[in-house]
């Protein structure tokens, strides 16, 4: 499609996709890539990076590189799973509410607006505290608090589609709702959903790390968030062991950045800015016209 071609022209999107793909691959093949086991120490506590341990070791002597790779798996898992929940719920709600309009839409708008206002992290903390700290709960909690912005955006898009007349025309030809949704609405909403999914992954990864940091992560699994939390709790700071702190943060930052580049790029490709700024630091250029251009 035209959209894909436009996407291919932008180096930032390519970079973003590469980053996300790379981490996904590492997440999938994590156990194969870990140089050392993660459940027992393979070196001295807080060993600085060396040729044996590229990223040094943590507070009990477990290899940092292996920990980071292992953490990739859970962090990306939470990211994708929570994003999936958010998109599934948000997309469905958004499409249906936008399509149907009327009371159901007003109701949905009320609910989404309400939840959009409630601060995310405190609510997640409370929910995690109530429901327990397994990874499944975390995924659900994060997902359930991210669907609102998705549905908001999707609903807006459905509205513009309705305005453009597809819906009315198809209906007058006798098409059923599900047909209209499938053939007309979904194709136009799909790129938006892709962009939102990617952004949702980034948000989910961030919140996973945040929850872990306050002690509410899934304690039995290794994720970037828990690595960071452990490092902080176990005096990596005072030991000056920066290698225990830097890798998980860098990973999170890279994934978020990659997701952000892709998501923003897709959105920009979908809505190309039509005008140009009317003022700029540089003036228009001047050129002498002595060159004869036409015979």
């Amino acid at each position: 499609m035209r959209l894909l071609r436009r996407l291919a022209h932008r180096p930032t999107i390519i970079a973003g996709i590469v980053i996300v793909l790379a981490f996904t691959l590492v997440a999938i093949f994590a156990p194969l890539l870990e140089p050392y086991p993660t459940d027992r120490p393979s070196g001295e506590p807080f060993e600085p990076p060396s040729s044996a341990h590229w990223l040094g070791t943590d507070d009990v002597g477990v290899d940092m590189l292996s920990l980071t790779i292992a953490g990739t798996q859970n962090s990306m898992l939470v990211g994708f799973a929570a994003a999936f929940v958010a998109i599934l719920v948000g997309g469905t709600v958004g499409i249906i509410a936008g399509y149907r309009g009327g009371w159901s839409e007003t109701g949905v708008v009320g609910v989404t607006d309400f939840f959009l206002v409630i601060p995310g992290l405190p609510l997640m903390i409370v929910l995690a505290a109530i429901f327990g700290q397994s990874i499944y709960h975390i995924v659900v909690v994060i997902g359930l608090l991210s669907w609102m912005s998705v549905s908001y955006v999707v609903r807006a898009q459905v509205h513009t589609l309705k305005v453009r007349g597809f819906v009315a025309r198809s209906r007058s030809l006798g098409a059923s709702d599900s047909y209209i949704i499938r053939r007309h609405i979904l194709p136009h909403v799909a790129p938006l959903l892709v962009a939102q999914t990617v952004l949702a992954v980034a948000i989910a990864v961030f919140f996973e790390a945040a929850l872990a940091f306050v002690g509410l992560g899934d304690l039995e699994r290794i994720s970037w968030g828990t690595i960071l939390q452990q490092a902080f709790q176990h005096t990596a700071v005072s030991a000056g062991a920066w290698w225990a702190i830097v890798p998980p943060g860098v990973c999170i930052a890279l994934v978020v950045l990659g997701c952000f580049l892709v998501g923003q790029g897709v959105e920009e490709a979908m809505n190309p800015r039509l005008g140009h700024a009317h003022v700029a630091p540089r003036s228009f250029a001047r050129r002498s016209t002595w060159v004869e251009e036409e015979r």
Partner: protein, 305 residues
């Protein structure tokens, strides 16, 4: 209206949800059943939900949020004190981020496509992507010897004067506020930039240029006001968010604010405290959002009263 809903929501959250919030939060290992029953009775959980709700509202109006498990002090007082600590730190950080972010965003929009613009955009994106707690820890490690890294004040000051105390507090505030600034700055600059870019492409900007106005005037007097609207809403949203988002920063720097209190309440199974904090945070965010709506209406002459 939303405030009322928020309050009710909090009630639902803490009392009516399956999973029995009370016992989970107040969970103490090996708690004898009598103790659990005692807690339930104390919180009136044995009464029907509707009665609980009414009681909840009544107590709220009286400013009674219960007593903290950990400190045995009234929750309301504790929460307020923590909030008093959070606001300066977070407030300064946010305000600086908003001001600097706006200037830089406008500058980037004006210079769109140039090296400077790309550098600014890139930096902003990177800052936006960095996890808050990680950035906080890095700064902590970096400045460990130079600036105080935990708490809000030095407990060992002997007979301090007002200025000494103030200076001390400010020194403690530098790092956490800096983290807040850096984190917010990224997203803010990006939004300002894109909003201003759009404003610069509008027809009346060309008219302004045609009138012979210089670039400065066109940017600030003619187009910035159009770009300002979404910014104002964003600012108020940000301020509301930061109160909650400060949790991570406060944890890293042991800043005794409302964020750290949340974490401590969870860790200490302090149910009333947690409920009180949540309620307060939610209400203040709602208040800020409302403020944002009001400001938007004031600034935009197109909004029909």
């Amino acid at each position: 209206m939303i405030a009322f809903l928020a309050i009710s929501f909090s009630f639902v959250l803490f009392r009516a949800l399956p999973g029995d919030a009370v016992t989970n939060i107040s969970r103490v290992p090996n708690m004898p059943p009598e103790a659990r029953e005692a807690i339930r009775a104390e919180f009136g959980l044995d009464k029907p939900l509707s009665t609980q709700y009414v009681l909840y509202l009544k107590e709220l109006v009286q400013g009674n949020l219960g007593l903290s498990f950990q400190t045995r002090q009234p929750v309301l007082g504790e929460v307020l004190e923590r909030v008093r600590n959070t606001i300066p730190m977070v407030g300064v950080g946010a305000v600086v981020a908003i001001l600097v972010g706006t200037l830089i965003g406008v500058s980037a929009a004006y210079r769109q496509g140039t090296v400077r613009d790309r550098a600014i955009t890139g930096t902003a994106m990177v800052l936006y992507a960095l996890p808050v707690q990680w950035l906080a820890i890095l700064l902590l490690v970096a400045f460990a010897g130079v600036l105080p890294t935990s708490g809000m004040s030095d407990p060992y000051l002997v007979d301090p004067s007002f200025w000494t105390v103030l200076l001390d507090r400010l020194r403690h505030m530098v790092l956490p506020s800096a983290v807040v600034t850096l984190v917010i700055f990224g997203s803010f600059a990006l939004v300002v930039r894109s909003s201003q870019l759009e404003a610069l492409g509008e027809d009346h900007v060309l008219t302004a240029r045609a009138k012979g106005y210089g670039n400065r005037r066109v940017i600030w007097r003619e187009s910035f006001r159009s770009a300002l609207l979404p910014l104002v809403t964003l600012s108020t949203l940000t301020l509301g968010w930061v109160i909650a988002g400060g949790i991570l920063v406060e944890t890293v720097f042991s800043w005794p604010g409302v964020g750290l209190a949340t974490v401590q309440a969870v860790g200490g199974r302090d149910y009333p405290m947690l409920q009180g904090i949540f309620l307060f945070i939610t209400l203040s965010v709602v208040a800020f959002n409302f403020l944002g709506d009001v400001l938007h209406a004031v600034l935009d002459p197109r909004v029909v009263e």
